[in-house]
């Protein structure tokens, strides 16, 4: 098992959940900040997840 696959899926999915939640509930902010933390963190996680999946995909392709 290539660990990049489950890690990639986990972060991509979590990223999507956070982006969705950031868009769906943009007023979900915390006392000390007005930033839409969910939305931006979600994007970072989605990008990281896709990056891991791409690495794993490239490794499979170069093997076969």
């Amino acid at each position: 098992m290539d660990l990049r696959v489950p890690s990639g899926w986990f972060f991509a999915l979590t990223g999507l959940i956070l982006i969705g939640w950031g868009l769906f509930a943009p007023d979900a902010t915390a006392p000390l900040t007005t930033v839409n933390v969910n939305f931006y963190s979600g994007i970072a996680m989605l990008v990281f997840g896709i990056f891991l999946l791409l690495l794993a995909w490239r490794a499979v392709r170069s093997h076969s």
Partner: protein, 550 residues
């Protein structure tokens, strides 16, 4: 703090992945070596991240934010002065002997290099220590979830123990290592936003410098005298105690971390494990310590943030991390952050349990209870020990409810057991004249010296149970000096006794000692796969960081 449904979705998703990884890895296990040593087949990027993640338990996470709030940027010395140099030393100089000796554990190396009694001493003390650490992780998790989320202590402890047991039982060390890496990513991605938000709210590093006393924003400038810096430690105690004895003792001899490097797929990968690990490790202070420092700046800004008081009336630094989360994280990312905390508690437990079952199976069971059984028998013993280890940890967690300060207890154990150990390894690996009797005498008397120092000196009202010969300005200083004394006693006694006892023939020590071991030279490897260029890069970055925050 209250979690919303979206937080629970993320929490459940994460643990579904954790258990799924364990389930998928179960097919890989066909021998005790697969279960307890990952069959020595884990890629280097995974072992490197696991190497540092095994140490990034939630006790450390919360403790580092608390230290940041209490001591300021000096806390980064645990990384920049302590861990990094020790990890470099481990990768360059010590790993060839660990990996090359074919030892399956750190105690087993001691058996190969010295003799049975030194191994027994190390194996038993390590086994007890891991169970305690694991229990403390569990206890801290239960307490935190109860305090922050209002969950039941018992349910939290038992549920987390069940998850840890499930994935370590299924996939053994590989499962523990893989989940440590997943947890490491989660910690970085889940807490980096907190660091960014809290530091920028406090006006960036400049804003923090303007709001805090200067000795909290300089790592080196106030080190001359213990009365000037918040840690109460002087330069020598810091460099020799933390920078040398404690850090080298932990990173180079603690089987919990060494085991991760030993699981690597080749000698070259094993040596690179700690070296590659230093690169992310170096930047962790920005995620784990900075929020604590920013928290103190925020308390001086009248934005409505304050640290809750502790029992003694002072600020409760241990709540710095969780109170910041409550102030900066809306539901969603809050669930992710809490999941990260829970995950790091659990991987702390899993790390200890997987180290415990290896040491118990190979160094205690196979050595003293039933040698010469077939491998399948030891695989079963390894699995049973995993269950027993988790049960003992739960017991230890309930024992820990009777002690107040968790980190103190941990550090006392580190000080007394780990400090002399590094002298034994240093002599054993680099001075072939060191004899088994010398090592054992040094190790036991060194540990004894550590205990005696603790019993005859006082710091912040603790210690000095036999006499009060010396008063340390802080517990930190006391810990560092206990380590220095234990190391010195162990070193001197080992050398002295070795000179009066018969040396071992060189032939028996091939692969175990410097000068009698062929150290592989990777001339054909790419530059970034060789230890020397990697180390050079790390040292340059390290010097820059230290100058920046001097």
């Amino acid at each position: 703090m209250k979690l919303a449904p979206v937080d629970y979705v993320i929490l459940v998703l994460y643990f579904a992945f954790v258990l799924g990884i364990g389930w998928r890895l179960r097919k890989r296990i066909s021998s005790s070596g697969d279960f307890l040593m990952s069959g020595r087949s884990v890629p280097v990027w995974i072992t490197s991240l696991a190497f540092i993640a095994a140490n990034l338990g939630a006790v450390e996470l919360i403790g580092m934010a608390a230290s940041g709030a209490k001591y300021g940027i000096m806390t980064a010395h645990f990384y920049w002065l302590g861990a990094i140099p020790a990890m470099l030393f481990m990768g360059i100089f010590m790993m060839p002997f660990y990996y090359g000796s074919k030892a399956r554990s750190v105690p087993e190396y001691l058996k190969l290099r010295f003799d049975e009694k030194t191994r027994a001493f190390n194996a038993f003390s390590f086994a007890i220590m891991t169970i305690f650490s694991s229990g403390i992780s569990m206890y801290a998790l239960g307490l935190l979830l109860h305090l922050v989320l209002g969950w039941s202590f018992n349910v939290s402890v038992l549920a987390s123990a069940a998850i840890v047991l499930a994935y370590t039982f299924l996939g053994g060390l590989t499962s523990a290592i893989y989940n440590e890496v997943l947890q490491f990513f989660l910690i970085v991605l889940g807490f980096a936003p907190l660091a960014i938000l809290s530091v920028s709210k406090a006006g960036g590093w400049r804003g923090i410098v303007a709001r805090l006393p200067p000795n909290m924003t300089h790592a080196w400038r106030y080190m001359g005298s213990p009365t000037e810096n918040p840690m109460g430690v002087e330069l020598f105690g810091m460099i020799a105690g933390l920078g040398f004895v404690l850090s080298f003792g932990y990173w180079c001899t603690n089987f919990l971390v060494v085991q991760r490097a030993m699981a690597a797929e080749s000698m070259s990968a094993a040596r690179r494990t700690p070296l590659v690990g230093t690169l992310p490790k170096m930047f962790l202070p920005f995620i784990v310590i900075m929020p604590g420092i920013a928290a103190i700046a925020l308390t001086k800004m009248n934005v409505g943030y304050a640290l809750p008081p502790n029992a003694a009336g002072g600020p409760d630094y241990t709540q710095a991390l969780t109170t910041l989360m409550a102030q900066f994280y809306p539901s969603g990312i809050l669930g992710l952050g809490m999941t990260g905390l829970m995950a790091s508690f659990m991987s702390g437990m899993a790390g200890n349990v997987t180290a415990f079952n290896t040491v118990f199976t190979y160094d205690i069971y196979q050595s003293y209870i039933r040698p010469n059984a077939d491998d399948h028998h030891y695989l079963t013993v390894g699995r049973v020990t995993t269950v027993v280890g988790v049960l003992l940890s739960i017991l230890a967690a309930y024992v820990a409810t009777r002690y107040n300060n968790i980190m103190d207890l941990l550090q006392l154990v580190f000080g007394c057991v780990n400090a002399p150990l590094f002298a034994t390894f240093l002599l054993g690996m680099f001075w072939r004249r060191t004899t088994a009797h010398g090592a054992f005498a040094g190790l036991t008397l060194g540990t004894g010296a550590a205990v005696m120092t603790l019993c005859t000196t006082v710091a912040e009202g603790k210690g000095g149970w036999i006499a009060n010969w010396h008063q340390f300005p802080s517990q930190m200083a006391q810990n560092f000096w206990i380590a220095i004394i234990a190391f010195a006693v162990c070193f001197v006694i080992s050398v002295a006794v070795s000179l009066f006892t018969t040396p071992r023939p060189d032939k028996e020590m091939e692969g175990l000692v410097y000068g009698l071991t062929k150290i592989p030279h990777d001339a054909t490897a790419k530059w970034y796969e060789r230890p020397a260029p990697l180390t050079a890069i790390v040292i340059v970055l390290l010097v820059i960081l230290n100058i920046w925050f001097r």
